[in-house]
Symmetry: C2
Subunit: 260 residues, 2 copies
């Protein structure tokens, strides 16, 4: 049993390494020589790069480093991304268990939509997992189809929040005019029922950074409507930083793109 | 050449896997069965756990999960930790290159000491890389010896900061009465010369969290002395969060312990 597993892991490693070699050949990255030492460096570099973006040390990046294409691909579709999400959601669930809700209906929770509730992995597969720069037209077409799958661990979290009695707000930077209907259909079709409100970016917030826009939405929820925001979950630091922060914020991994 | 490297990587993987098996046997963790599936789960879990603590999703943890001992050990001494530090320091260096300093002598930079300037890896090796709980007496003895090695990439950053003309403040939670002399000697002996001030925790801040204490020190630097804090580098989020934040903060990895 152990040896079968080890054999699988070894095969996986060989696959990853050989694909990395292929990728450096294919894209002809000038700083990469096609030899083993460079493959090692590339793997180590990509691990470091991913940690640096996830911890917000590197901000404002537009594309992933080309030598990290297969690293990010393996991360996103090889199981580790799901494992990372599962562990965070387990941790959030423990936090939720300790919250004592009041009966005034003002206990709120915020979830982001893209790559929090709904996954864009299928779309980003066609964009080489973020090696290709952001393509607003193509993303518009993708999001308009309303076929993003739910992220299973977040759907599990969502059910728990609804069951415990939280008012769940889904807040997205997607444009309201263009995406309100397909996003709502997509969420319902994927099982997200019972949330309090889906808030999209209206005309008033056009051109604002995600952080400024989402802070202003939180301000309204807190100051104008009296909600207590117990938690906020998003795949971008701009979902979580700014003003009127939740009591607890949780950053989901996303090494494919950065939203300011 | 590629195949030699692959062979090395495969051998490394087998070593890591077999050590993980040994560790689950040795520590008899109740939830771990000794078979391949569990080894896989353990590796995946430890990667997820490390990402969750580095992104501050999991806070206030006291020890590392026992099944992650060899994962954290391999991370800290196998080269990836250094790679992660190198990439962050390269990134900080680019940020520094873009700063235009004034000639009023008030451009400041903050560095933490433990596991930022000076490494405690040798100490934590004896504490199973954080599996054993914090041991104030043993750490006191270790720190009093003044033999912590410099972290090479941070020493490189330090030289750059001094050369560019920043006033560098080293701020540590170490107790002033006990550690002022050995810490100063340790820093000098390791090549940290030319900093503006080493600030240790004086009687007034005893018992405060790292975040509150360090915020108050930053407040004094900014409000009372007029410094502009361009950057702040630490291995704990409590070095970086709170009030009077630096223009840019950088979180170094540390999966061995958590300071509130």
């Amino acid at each position: 049993m152990i040896f079968n597993t080890m054999k699988r892991q070894v095969l996986f490693l060989i696959l990853v390494l050989s694909r990395t070699v292929t990728s450096t050949k294919k894209f002809d990255h000038s700083s990469l020589r096609i030899d083993g030492r460079m493959v090692e460096l590339s793997l180590s570099y990509c691990l470091s790069w991913r940690l640096a973006v996830e911890t917000n040390n590197i901000k404002g990046w537009r594309t992933i480093p080309i030598q990290c294409l297969h690293h990010v691909e393996a991360y996103m579709i090889g199981g580790q991304y799901e494992s990372d999400l599962d562990l965070i959601v387990d941790h959030i669930s423990s936090y939720i268990d300790d919250i004592i809700l009041s009966d005034d209906g003002l206990d709120a929770w915020i979830l982001d939509v893209d790559d929090t509730c709904l996954s864009n992995i299928f779309y980003y597969k066609g964009k080489r997992f973020g090696v290709d720069p952001y393509d607003p037209q193509a993303f518009k077409e993708w999001a308009s189809r309303g076929i993003c799958p739910a992220i299973p661990s977040i759907l599990r979290l969502f059910f728990k929040l609804i069951e415990r009695g939280f008012k769940v707000f889904l807040i997205t930077g997607r444009d309201e005019t263009t995406f309100a209907q397909p996003t709502l259909h997509n969420l319902h079709f994927q099982g997200f029922f019972g949330f309090e409100r889906l808030i999209l970016r209206s005309e008033a917030y056009k051109g604002q950074s995600g952080m400024v826009y989402k802070s202003e939405i939180r301000r309204k929820l807190v100051e104008e409507e009296g909600f207590r925001i117990w938690g906020n979950v998003g795949d971008q630091w701009s979902d979580l930083h700014g003003q009127f922060l939740a009591n607890a914020s949780f950053k989901l991994p996303n090494p494919m793109y950065f939203v300011p």
